[in-house]
Structures are given as C-alpha cells and as structure tokens.
Symmetry: C2
C-alpha cells in the first residue's frame, strides 16, 4: 500500500526545486524502468501494479492499484510501474572529459533535450554540458523522451564562462564549434575527432558571451524557404557530419 | 462578436473527421497567421483580439474577447488570433512530381510530422506523401510544429501500393531509398539528385508491402548504445546527406 504522504512526495517531485532539494527524480513505465534496472543508477523506491510485481519477485517493490498509479503518474497513460530514483552523481572532471562533447546554451524544451540526449548516445558523444538556465534533465518529459539514454550520457549544468575557460586550458588544441546562421558551410568544415560542439536555443541562438569562445562556426545551408531547423534535428545533422 | 454556433464549429474542427467533412482546419497565433496571410491559402474566417484587429484594418475579421479566444483555442497560451482555413487543394500529379520526394509510412506523432515538414522545406523537398494511416497534416499540433512550412510543402495521403506502382512507371530511373536498421552505411550510399526517400514509423519501421518496392536501403551507423534515433532526426540526417 502507498501512503498519502508517499503520494504527495512523488507528486512534489514533478517540481524542479523539490527534485534538487531531495536529489531524487521519477522514472515511469515498463520500458524505462527495465532499462533503469540494467543501469547503475541508484533506486530509492519502486511502485508497481500486481502483474509487474509478480514478474519481478526478487525486487523490493510496493504494490499499488491502477487508481493510485494514475494519481502519482505524470503520463497520459500510466504504465504499470514508477520508480523514485537518486540523481546521477557523475563528476564533470571525470575521465570522459576528452572526445566529442556537446554544449547546450539555454535549451528550454524538454522534448528537445531528451531527443538530443538520445542522439548523443547514438553518436558516441561523451557528455552533455548545459548552461545553468537550460531545462532540467530530471524533468519527466526529458527522461521520457531520452528513452533510457539518460542513464548513459552524463548531463551537467555549468556557468558557461567558467566552463569554457577551463575547457580551453585543459584541451588547448580542441576546436570549439558553434552552429550559427552565418558560418562555414558544414560540408566544408574540418572537424577533428575531439572537440566541443555548441548549440544555441531555438529562439535566441548562441549567447554572445559564449560566442566569444568559439574557434569556428558552421552552418547547415538552407536549400528551401523554412526559417530555421529544429535544434534537435540540427544537432543530429552536425553530429552525423562530425562522426561520419 | 462570435456566436455560440461559431464557437462550437471551431471546437469541432479539432476532430479529424469533422475537418475532412468540412474541408477546413484551424491556424492559430500571430506568427502562423501572419505567414498564412502571405501564402496563397484560402481563408474562411479570422477571429482576433482588438489589438490585432486594429493592426490589420484592411482585413475582414471578427473581434473577440480573450475569454472567447481561450474557449476556441487549442493552445496552452492562446495567442491573439485564430483563423479558419480551407484545406490545401494541391494535386498529387502536379509539376512538382520530380525532384526529391519524401514518403512517410505510418508516422503517428504530430510533432514529428510537423518537424519533418519544416525540414523538408529547409532541404528543398518537393512534396511529402504519407500512407493513409499516418497522422493528419491538419492536426493542430502538426500545423503548429511545422511553423509555416505547411503552407509551402504539399502533403498527400495515398494507398502505398498504388503510389509506388505509379511512381515507378513515371520515374523508372529514380531510386526508392528506405531507411532501415540493416542497410548500406549512409556515408557510402550513392544518392542521385532525384528520388524517393521512404521513412517508416518509429515503432514499426517500414511496412513489408512498402519494403518490396525499395531499390536501396541505407543505415545511419550506431556509434553508441541508443536503441534508435528519433524519426525526425533520422530524416534530417538522410536529407542532409542526400543534398550536401
């Protein structure tokens, strides 16, 4: 049985401030929880319908009714199981510092961040670094749209100025490549194996302070009449070109 | 003043069956309506707040209150103006038949279709052809996420079998290229200027009957651990590679 306090606690975790205070977040649905169990992420509690609990007899798990599940769920169609999970504890200066890193400047849309995490995982990006004012990686929609890649790709929040100064000190030879409307045509750009790709928000592009640190800018030429490309699509195309 | 009947009529247009019976759909928000006015799409009615109406004195337009706008709006944050618009009347066998065409097999997510229309407009795709059971292009979320490109890129619904037979008769030399998990690596594929790119649904891939018509399959190699790429992102990468 789930208690009223537990229901309230889980609902409160839909708020960013509470998540960061508690250092916990929520993962929902059969597929995402199944990937969670295979990851090394620390789980606090699992709440599941009887069928799911029976199929996982070795797991500590609180059985709940469909009605209670729909109370605590953020999904339109609640799906069998919900887990309360501890935030990841990756260190920014870990051994994954080198390779291809993605820097996101003020990405606000949770679906875009989730999709970008998923493609970072596809293209072997080592980590994602976000400016402090970007959407929270523990937002339920980010978790959902990342489709499990969020367990594998570490996401950090930083002060951009400090981060870029430190990156340049650590990797003085790596390019810092920004996507911009007026850069070098992407097909002609020389992109070495290691470096930093910087993507700006859909509405504002890359912040001026961040622009000052770029060593190179690239553009996906417009062959038609659309005003812009979706930022997740543009990120995918540049990552493809960078690693092809 | 908007009448009760008009409110009901506009609300009903959120349903696909009603849209196709009436052959009308709804466009919302300042930016989309402004692009609409620059397009050649036929407008039935415009409903707008006083400020918008005053800024467009030459347009026939019904002034409505914020309260009424929020009643007829499908947006979370209703935005100044809403137009009832006649469906596009493009003919499938028009002069845009050649060039690069995109075929979508059972794409269900409106956000994905809208994003794909937007990038088709970016990459100069001549038209989009969807299998009959795909999401409706006049769905409000498709219109919204296409960001005006829906006025420029014609979208058709067809019986795939008939369409492919006819396409092959009309353009016997054009390749029909499908995106698949086990195809030729995309970077090595030869892609001539004209042809048909076939993308399948995220959950089911390309339907077997459609697969039988492919002359070529391509794959975006997986360098990491993600199970799949978002279909809009994959479409963007292949369109980029095709046109680069």
């Amino acid at each position: 049985m789930i208690t009223k306090n537990q229901i309230k606690y889980i609902k409160d975790l839909s708020r960013k401030a509470i998540r960061w205070k508690e250092r916990k977040f929520v993962v929902e649905g059969e597929k995402l929880v199944s990937e969670l169990l295979q990851s090394e992420v620390a789980i606090d509690e699992i709440y599941a319908l009887a069928g799911w609990k029976e199929a996982h007899p070795n797991l500590p798990c609180t059985e709940i009714s469909e009605k209670d599940l729909s109370r605590i769920s953020q999904l339109k169609t609640p799906n069998k199981v919900l887990a309360v999970v501890y935030m990841f504890e990756d260190e920014l200066n870990d051994d994954r510092s080198n390779g291809l890193t993605l820097f996101l400047d003020r990405i606000n849309d949770p679906g875009n961040l989730g999709t970008i995490i998923r493609m970072a995982d596809w293209f072997g990006v080592n980590k994602i670094v976000c400016s402090e004012n970007s959407v929270d990686v523990y937002n339920p929609k980010v978790i959902q749209s990342s489709m499990g890649s969020v367990y594998r790709i570490p996401v950090f929040y930083v002060n951009p100025e400090e981060y870029f100064l430190n990156y340049k000190k650590q990797f003085p030879k790596n390019p810092i490549v920004g996507a911009a409307m007026e850069g070098e045509p992407l097909a002609e750009a020389k992109l070495p194996k290691e470096g930093l790709l910087v993507m700006g928000s859909e509405s504002h592009g890359i912040n001026q302070e961040v622009q000052a640190h770029l060593t190179q800018t690239v553009t996906i030429p417009n062959l038609g009449q659309a005003e812009s490309l979706n930022v997740a699509v543009a990120t995918g195309i540049i990552l493809w070109e960078w690693t092809r």
